[in-house]
Amino acid sequence: MNCLSITKNGLVLAILLALGACSLVSVSPYDSSADKAFTKLHKQTAEFFAESTKAPDPSCGYSHHLSFYQNSKVSMSSLLVRARAMADNNLTVSQLELLSSSYVNLAQLHQLGCFTSAQVNELWVSFDASFSAILKLELAKKYGR
């Protein structure tokens, strides 16, 4: 009976140790390069919105902001390639795919006409929430929560 009990406890111990050693859920480690590139993209986007809230001017159209859209597209592409190359990084990849889709939506919206200040406020809230969510996960990888 004692022998059985010891075997049973040993088995439980082995399972618990295995669980601790190779965790059930894996999330990729923190990536400082991605964090920096992401923060830079956030700054570019915030500057774009700040500029868009200025008084209406003739250069408010989509064609005058092509460089912003091109730079954002390039930055998103780099971030996605890097994120996809990392193992266990599906959550961050999905977040970046959604953000990339948001930039496409932003461009489509801009092609429909200049942004009003009410629209800029709406857009700023959406993009801030998106950036915060991605940063939250990235910082949780660094600090553990």
Binding site: L17, G20, V25, V27, N105, L123, S126, R145
Partner: protein, 102 residues
Amino acid sequence: MSKIKDDLGSLLLAELLVQASSDGLFTHDRVSVDTQRLAEELDAINTMVIAGELSEEQAALHRQLRLNALKMKLLAIEGVDAIALERTLDGMGKVIRRFYGI
């Protein structure tokens, strides 16, 4: 043997409580708050359409942006939960290893 089991159980429970109290494990309330906020935001977009500030086409794109933001938030919550669970398991594994002197 029973005393040893009780001691280990207490240590594991203490570790679990430490991890749980550092707010990483229970996030259902945050999901419901975010979902509620999305409903309010979609309502605000509808109000802008009624007021003539947005066309239907523009409103659809604004709604899509809000939905994307919510999906990103939910993915962040899922990731933070996974990290918290990983830390909890690691912590409990350490307790067991310390207890048995491994």
